[in-house]
């Protein structure tokens, strides 16, 4: 509960920070860093004995670049592919920061919209895989919405196994093909 609340507050702060800097990249980055540093995320140590701070743990993914330019090749928004485990639509922990970054961006930019393309590997039947791809896209969409994006900003589309990025019948190809692509 506390965690969720703090995230909402954080989102609001971050959104305001971005809204206030009218597209100036340098300022935007500065604003973010300031906002994040004020919260002391990821440290949880009080350097002033008179103040008690509460750390929210290592799983909090926000970093100073969380609201960066979506076109910045080094920013978190440049990660546009979420990979999945076999026969699973659970968003893996290693992609939570990516999804949170996109959610924060969408929350801060209500006019922005994305398409979520769900994909499956080639094993099993095509129609069932079409449904699995959609389930993955919807799982990402649900998380984005929980994290502040509005439902109308993300459209889920499934291509099933019809659009592999890697052609091959091996684990490596399968792992790369089980994915949701975020398309701005």
């Amino acid at each position: 509960m506390t965690l969720t609340n703090s995230k909402w507050i954080l989102l609001a702060v971050l959104a305001l920070a971005v809204a206030g800097c009218s597209g100036n990249k340098t300022k935007e980055a500065d604003g973010n860093r300031a906002a994040v540093e004020d919260r002391g995320i990821g440290h949880g140590e009080a350097d002033d004995p008179g103040v008690t701070t509460t750390g929210i743990g290592d799983d909090d993914p926000y970093s100073s670049a969380a609201l960066g330019d979506p076109n910045d090749p080094d920013g978190p928004l440049s990660v546009r592919i979420i990979y999945f485990d076999l026969d699973s639509s659970n968003v893996r922990a290693d992609f939570r920061s990516t999804i949170e970054a996109h959610a924060a961006y969408l929350a801060a930019n209500p006019d922005a919209s994305i398409s979520l393309e769900g994909h499956a590997d080639e094993r099993g039947s095509r129609e069932y895989n079409l449904a699995l791809g959609e389930r993955r896209a919807l799982a990402v969409r649900k998380q984005l919405v929980l994290l502040g994006a509005s439902a109308g900003q993300a459209q889920a589309v499934s291509y099933g196994e019809e659009r592999p990025v890697m052609v091959g019948s091996d684990e490596e190809s399968y792992a790369l093909n089980r994915r949701v692509e975020i398309i701005y």
Binding site: R123, G124, R135, L138, E162
Partner: protein
């Protein structure tokens, strides 16, 4: 049941008239990779061709290839024939008995007018020295090859008492890679032996799930041309088509009702794939499943009273049956692993082919619905899309070949296997059409 008899047949391109070059890319090549030990020996004497112009279709060669392709017959090579009788009275039965031939087919093709022909043939039992059947079939030049398949059907049924399915068509999807990023998807129809392939739709976006109407005049399929799945119904003769299901979510897995008037389909407008029934005239639809799990791949039972479908409501995908008019779904796949999908029912509704996933990969299994037993028919690792032949004897499916996906067919008892490969590109998602009327 051994792999003793491994026969390779290359169907000669010269059998195809005209446009051989244009069709060569699309021609499916059939190889029998496993036949039945003790396939029935049969002699098919080349049919006389009595017409003005040279033969465009070698009718008796098409018949011999069909029968050999079924794995149930072993036609004698033409070069080995001891004689070429044209009439019943010309037959020296002793010669044929000595060669171990059980049956003999003799016949001829006569031109009856400018573009009209008649195929006459007789099926003869060498042992009893009796004619089992004799037919005269009028046809046109254009339909000679199709009529030859019809002759194969009649011979097959006369001798084996099983309806033949040679004079049928298959629909399938081909994929040709243009470059690293782009592919061309084609929806094609060919005769059951891979000849006469024609493209009825071409797209840069994926195509899948072709499904025949019961009369064979229309195909329903899924196209991603709008950047999302949508269901179309296309008239095969005119090429005219109608987009019947589209919009948000999945619109896929069409299946015609036995009367051809409605479609079962998968839609996920409300965020979860369920089975819907759409009246094709009014476009009114009724939702048949409401479970939060994936429900898809619906197929009618032949009596039109039930549907079978894939659902992962129990964890992994399994096949369930549900009355069309509503009721509780009943699970049909038990004790056969945690992955069973994409059911195809036999024409009599007693058997069901499925994709069965296990440790060794995904294979085609056939479930006996009366005895509650199953048998795995194939042994590759990525087999999918099973489709019953309309005579219930064979199942066509997609498998992985050396150069990508190709088609294969297996007899329901697992004893006969064929491969149908494109010379270039991939071919997948076969759907075997109905018996032509």
């Amino acid at each position: 049941m051994s792999l003793v008899r491994v026969i390779f047949i290359s169907i000669a391109l010269s059998c195809v008239t005209g446009a051989a070059a244009a069709q060569s890319r699309d021609l499916l090549e059939i190889r029998i990779t496993q036949g039945i030990e003790g396939a029935l020996p049969i002699a098919i004497v080349p049919f006389d061709w009595a017409a003005d112009a040279p033969a465009e279709v070698n009718v008796s060669a098409v018949v011999a290839a069909d029968l050999r392709g079924s794995g149930r017959f072993a036609p004698m090579p033409v070069a080995d024939l001891p004689s070429r009788p044209a009439a019943f009275s010309d037959i020296n039965f002793k010669d044929w008995r000595l060669l171990g031939m059980d049956n003999l087919v003799i016949g001829q093709v006569k031109q009856t007018s400018a573009d009209q022909f008649a195929i006459e043939f007789r099926v003869i039992d060498v042992i009893s020295e009796k004619q089992l059947a004799g037919f005269r079939i009028p046809t046109s030049g254009k339909n000679l090859r199709l009529t030859a398949h019809h002759v194969s059907d009649l011979i097959f049924e006369t001798i084996l008492k099983i309806k033949g399915a040679f004079a049928t068509r298959i629909a399938y999807i081909t994929v040709e890679k243009i470059n690293n990023k782009d592919s061309k998807f084609r929806l094609q129809i060919s005769d059951s032996d891979g000849h006469n392939a024609r493209t009825i739709l071409e797209s840069r976006e994926p195509l899948l799930s072709p499904a025949w109407s019961p009369s064979g005049d229309r195909l329903a399929y899924v196209s991603f041309e709008d950047r999302n799945s949508a269901i179309y119904v296309q008239d095969i003769r005119s090429g005219k088509r109608e987009k019947v299901a589209f919009g948000r979510g999945i619109n896929s897995s069409p299946a015609f009702s036995p009367d051809g008037n409605s479609l079962l389909m998968t839609r996920s407008r409300d965020g979860n794939p369920d089975i819907f029934l759409m009246d094709l005239k009014t476009k009114k639809q009724r939702r048949l499943t409401t479970h939060p799990a994936i429900d898809t791949e619906a197929r009618w039972t032949p009596d039109g009273r039930h549907l079978v479908f894939t659902s992962d409501r129990g964890g992994g995908p399994q096949i369930y049956r549900l009355p069309i008019d509503g009721g509780r779904p009943k699970r049909l796949t038990f004790n056969m692993g945690n992955y069973n999908s994409r059911a195809s029912l036999s024409p009599d509704g007693k058997q069901m082919a499925v994709v069965n996933g296990g440790d060794k990969g995904y294979r085609i299994a056939v479930v006996d619905l009366e005895r509650d037993s199953f048998e795995i028919l194939t042994d590759a690792s990525l087999d999918e899309s099973p489709s019953f032949a309309p005579n219930g004897a064979m199942i066509i499916y997609a498998t992985m070949g050396r150069a990508g996906a190709e088609l294969a067919a297996v007899s329901v008892d697992g004893r006969v296997r064929q491969r149908l490969a494109l010379q270039k590109g991939e071919v997948r998602e076969p759907a075997w059409g109905p018996i032509r009327k």
